[in-house]
Every structure is written in structure tokens, then in C-alpha cells.
């Protein structure tokens, strides 16, 4: 299948106050296929939001962008602002984290949708009004005709996020970025919003890039996942494979640290979670070699001098950026749980396989 969006060796250098320039995205490549849900997972500073903003042509002021971003085969890096403006909202759009930040507080939700519609299509106000109500209805806002007259502050957090999703999808774009769309919401609302977002593709063929720091939400919702660390690719592939059998020590650590599904049986030791040591590097203060090496239990030699690039990792469609992915124990999370792994020369009695 040809890619809808194709990002190659994307590098973004930011100018920060005080210090000189910081390369926040350091050569990222990925594809988004029509209709799929791709999860972009990473911690703060990993470059997830910057990736979305750069693709949308909304990189921060003073940023230098190199590499290639192609939407429908058309190059967007260095494209004239007019082209980007005509694509935003029509071919690609953004659902941000904070709905209040993008909704105008002084216009009704319906009015804002009408405006979004009429900026793209030639239609009468009444026509646009009907489409707007339908859009609100589609994202599960009850009594949409009445709610269209509501101002954002009159809606609950979940309803507001639905209204923003309606705005981002009303012109049926081919690609929607959702940047941490549910972090401000309560878990039951989160689950419903994620279902709504990820279900959009099935109806209209819209592809979704779901940006999140939470591997937990990825499992039930995404088709493929790309894990980022410190502005680079760490691991990517079909979601079930990556989550069940990670190939990068970083992904393995994130998974190991999630609380298990059953309550701790009792003893204090049972309540401890396997944790990755240290904290993620600040952009601009990266270690030499692999950025994860100082926290990685497998790091040695090469890891501290040579930055790994994505290489195929076994199964089709899987890439990993790690020199030592072949040495990951099985299961991978035992790297962090302290259970002995292939101790050299040790005579271990093995039970039946």
C-alpha cells in the first residue's frame, strides 16, 4: 500500500532562549498509510508534538527543518505557506490536547464549525449549519442541534473535546493528528474519546496519528506504533508485536514498568515495579552514542559511541534502533525485573520448557 504521509530523515533545530540551537528531532522517518491508526509514543521532549506540528507546517518560529515530508506525494518541507494553509483542515488537521486553547470562547461551537466548513466549501449558511449539526451528532454529542448554540464554557471537558474532534474532521481530511487528545479527561471519558477517534477511519478512511506518552492506551486502539526517544526512532511495528514482544530495551522498560493486571499478592517486594533507572536526557544535553545508553542495562562498547539507526528486526514491518536488540532476554521485561538472564557459565536447572 502506498503511504499517505511519508516522513524521511526529518530534523528540526530549535532556537532556544539563552542557549544556541538544539536539534529536537534528529532524523525521524515513518509512513502513515490511508485509514490506519499509527501511535506515536514518547516522553516529554521526545519530539512527538514537534513532529505533528512540523508536518502541519506549524513548527515554532525560528525552527530549521530539513529532510522530507510528503503528503499525497507532495513535498511539504519548504513548501509555500499558502499551500500548507490550503492543506490544513482540508487534507490534514490537528486535535490538540487542550480543547479550550483552540476553541474561541466568544463564538458558539456551531458557529465555529460553520466557519470551518465555509472556509473550504462553497455552501450557504443554512447548509453549513445542517452539516455542522450532523458533525456534532457524529462525534456523539447528544441533542446536537441545541448544543450547536452552546459556547465552549457551557460544555463539559469531554463534550468540548468531542466538539474539537468534530472541527478537525468536519472537512473529511485524509490525515488527523491527535496530540495527547485525552490526557485532560477522566478515564471513562478517555476511553470513549479514543474509541471515537480511532473509529473515524473505518467510516471515512481517515488516517489517524495518535500522539501519546502512554503505552497503555496504544494497545487497544492503534494498528501500528512508533516509539520515539530523545528525538529519534527507538522501535516501530504492528502494535500487537511491539507490545507483546518488544525489541528495544527502552520499550521493554516502559512495558515492564506498567502495573500488572492483578493486585500485588501481599509482600512489600510485590508492590515494587520494575523501573528504568535515571531520567530522559534534556534536548541539547545528549550523551554520545545511543541516547538511551546511560539508562540501558544492555549498553556496552558501541552503544556509547555510535548512534544506532533503524534496522529490520525479524518480523516484517518491524524496525528497531538498537545495537543490541538481538541480546534482549526472553521475555524482554526480565531485563528490568532482576530475574537472572543467561548468566555465563552458571549451571541453572531448567524446568520443562
Amino acid at each position: 500500500m502506498t503511504a499517505l504521509l511519508s516522513v524521511r530523515d526529518l530534523r528540526v533545530t530549535l532556537r532556544t532562549p539563552g542557549t544556541e540551537r538544539v536539534q529536537a528531532l534528529r532524523g525521524l522517518s515513518f509512513d502513515v498509510r490511508p485509514g490506519e491508526v499509527l501511535a506515536l509514543v514518547g516522553e516529554s521532549g521526545a519530539g512527538k508534538s514537534l513532529t505533528a506540528r512540523t508536518v502541519l507546517g506549524l513548527a515554532p518560529h525560528g525552527a530549521t527543518v530539513t529532510g522530507s515530508v510528503r503528503l499525497d506525494g507532495r513535498e511539504l518541507v519548504g513548501a509555500p505557506p499558502r499551500l500548507l494553509r490550503s492543506l490544513r483542515g482540508r487534507r490534514m488537521s490537528l486535535v490538540p490536547q487542550d480543547a479550550l486553547a483552540v476553541l474561541s470562547p466568544v463564538h458558539t461551537v456551531g458557529g465555529q464549525l460553520v466557519r470551518a466548513l465555509r472556509s473550504v466549501h462553497r455552501m450557504s449558511r443554512a447548509q453549513a449549519r445542517r452539516r455542522a449539526v450532523r458533525a456534532l451528532d457524529r462525534v456523539g454529542i447528544p441533542d446536537a442541534a441545541r448544543r450547536a448554540h452552546a459556547y465552549p464554557h457551557e460544555l463539559s471537558g469531554g463534550m468540548r473535546q468531542r466538539a474539537v474532534i468534530a472541527m478537525a474532521t468536519v472537512n473529511e481530511p485524509a490525515l488527523v493528528f491527535a496530540d495527547e487528545p485525552t490526557t485532560a479527561l477522566d478515564p471513562p471519558v478517555q476511553a470513549r474519546i479514543l474509541e471515537l477517534l480511532c473509529g473515524l477511519g473505518e467510516e471515512t478512511g481517515t488516517a489517524l496519528v495518535l500522539i501519546t506518552h502512554d503505552l497503555g492506551v496504544v494497545g487497544g486502539h492503534a494498528d501500528r506504533v512508533a516509539v520515539l526517544y530523545a528525538g529519534r526512532h527507538a522501535e516501530s511495528g504492528p502494535v500487537e508485536h511491539v507490545l507483546r514482544d518488544p525489541r528495544s530495551p527502552y520499550t521493554a522498560g516502559l512495558l515492564a514498568a506498567l502495573p500488572p493486571e492483578t493486585a500485588a499478592p501481599g509482600g512489600p517486594a510485590d508492590r515494587l515495579l520494575p523501573a528504568i533507572a535515571g531520567s530522559p536526557p534534556a534536548p541539547g544535553h545528549l550523551p554520545r552514542g545511543c541516547a538511551f545508553a546511560p539508562r540501558c542495562p544492555l549498553a556496552e562498547g558501541d552503544c556509547r559511541t555510535l548512534e544506532p539507526s533503524p534496522v529490520p528486526a525479524g518480523d516484517p514491518g518491524r524496525l528497531v534502533s538498537c545495537h543490541r536488540w538481538r541480546d534482549l532476554p526472553d521475555p524482554a521485561h526480565s531485563l528490568y525485573t532482576g530475574t537472572p538472564r543467561r548468566a555465563p557459565g552458571a549451571t541453572v536447572e531448567r524446568g520443562p520448557a
Binding site: G35, E36, E43, S44, G157, D186, P187, P188, V189, Q190, A191, G201, E202, H213, D214, L215, G216, V217, V218, G219, G220, D223, E240, L243, R244, Y250, G253, L254, L255, A257, L258, P259, P260, E261, T262, A263, A264, P268, R271, L272, L273, P274, A275, I276, A277, G278, S279, P280, A282, R295, H333
Partner: protein, 274 residues
Amino acid sequence: MTDPAPPLLEVRDLVVRYPGRTRRDAPVTAVDGVSLDVRAGETLALVGESGCGKSSTAAAVLGLRRPDAGSVRFEGQDLTAITPARLRALRPAFQPVLQDPYGSLSPRLRVRDAVAEPLRLHGRWDRATGPDRVAELLERVGLDPAHGDRLPHELSGGQCQRVGIARALACEPRLLVLDEPVSALDPSVRAGVVNLLTRLQDERGLGYLLICHDLALVRHVAHRVAVMRRGRVVESGPARRVCSHPEHPHTRELLEAVPPHPGTPRRRTLPAAS
């Protein structure tokens, strides 16, 4: 269980009301008759959706908000009935750890001074031994004493949260009120801070009132759970029972929203091949 110790914290029929939006509006009852206990060495998790009254309960427990009715007893003393001076003297024994790791530290105070501040405020600062005490506290929360020279913006979120915990520990508390202590942290450092809290509890028998919306985490670290909805506790009990056999529909709803552990294989509705 043998002969249960008297609870560290006893909340009975707590009511907290806020004035309505205009003078004519009826007051909003945020907490409507909540009762709960926290024992030494035990974590009670308070869970529920935003607006259910968790944080208002915490504010009343910390003596930051006078309840409109009911009592809050800490080691037998009713915080709502004692003099302000007595309350101040008791404060070091119950300390908060807040959600926003940067927001809860002064941006202009070096880590060393931030940790020393509670000691100074409560008249426990000793010029000779104080610096050692601060270094010891930093080490206990997993920070290098050299971090003492830093300002909050020079630390990561996880490190700031550790400083916040060191501050709370400075005056030897017996109860910590943890308001979403890890939800603002990066996933790769979250487990480390959770473990720190667990170890501190086991070492010192601290009681924790944990406010948390992450039920997967609650299930793992809490001994008991109280589920709140619209200002009331709708279900409470041992964490294992409440999470595996929820009785109230609202508890069930909260549990169903917990994403399954992604490592375990499970059925998934794949998009129809087109």
C-alpha cells in the same frame, strides 16, 4: 487481621460546600458525608472522576479548608476543633505531596533551601546538623546531595517530584496526602517514584491517603480503595476485592476504562480489511 491499631486518620461525615456561582445560587456540596480511615503503614486510595470531591476531601484532611460539617481526626485530635496554634504544631505530622512537580517548588529556591524550608518553618533547623539532615533527605529520595545546589528548572520532572517528597519527609510525618503524585511524570520515571513511596512506607510505617485516577496503579499499590462519586463514597474495601469484584456500577465503569496491560495477548477488533 489481629487487633487493628487505632487509625492515624479518621474522617467522619465530612461535608464541604462551596458558594454558588451567584449569591442567589444554592451552594455546591462538593463533599457530602464522607467517612474514611487511614492506618499507619497503609495506603488508602481515593478514586473517582474529576469533580467527585477527592481534592476537597484532601484539602479538609490537610486542614487547608474548614469543613462545613463532620470531623477530621488525626491521631485522635479533631483538626476542626483545635486552635490554630495547635494545628500548626501538628502540621509536620501530616504533609502533602502535590501533582505538579514544578509548580509545587519555588523556582528561585535552590533544592537545598527548599528541603530545609520546612525544618526552618517548624523551628527544627539546627545550624550544625541541618545541612547533613538535608543531604540525608536527598539521598533517601534517591537524589545526589550535589543536586542541592540546583534550581528546580535544572531538574527533570521526576527529580522535582523527589524534592517534593524530601520536603514532605523533612519533619518526620506520619501521614502523607499524595494528590496524583506521579500522573504528571514521564512514564519511564513514574515507576521509580512509585517504588520510592512504597519503600518509604515500608521503612517508616507511613500512612498514605492517595488521590489517584489511575486504577491500574491503585490496584497495585493501595491496600484499600474508596470510590467517590458526586461527593459520596459509593464503595470501599480492600483494593483486591474492590478491583476484582466491584459492587457499585460506578466502580465497574471506572475499572472498565482501565486499558488492559498491553503485554498480555487479547482479542482485538481489527478494522475490516478493505
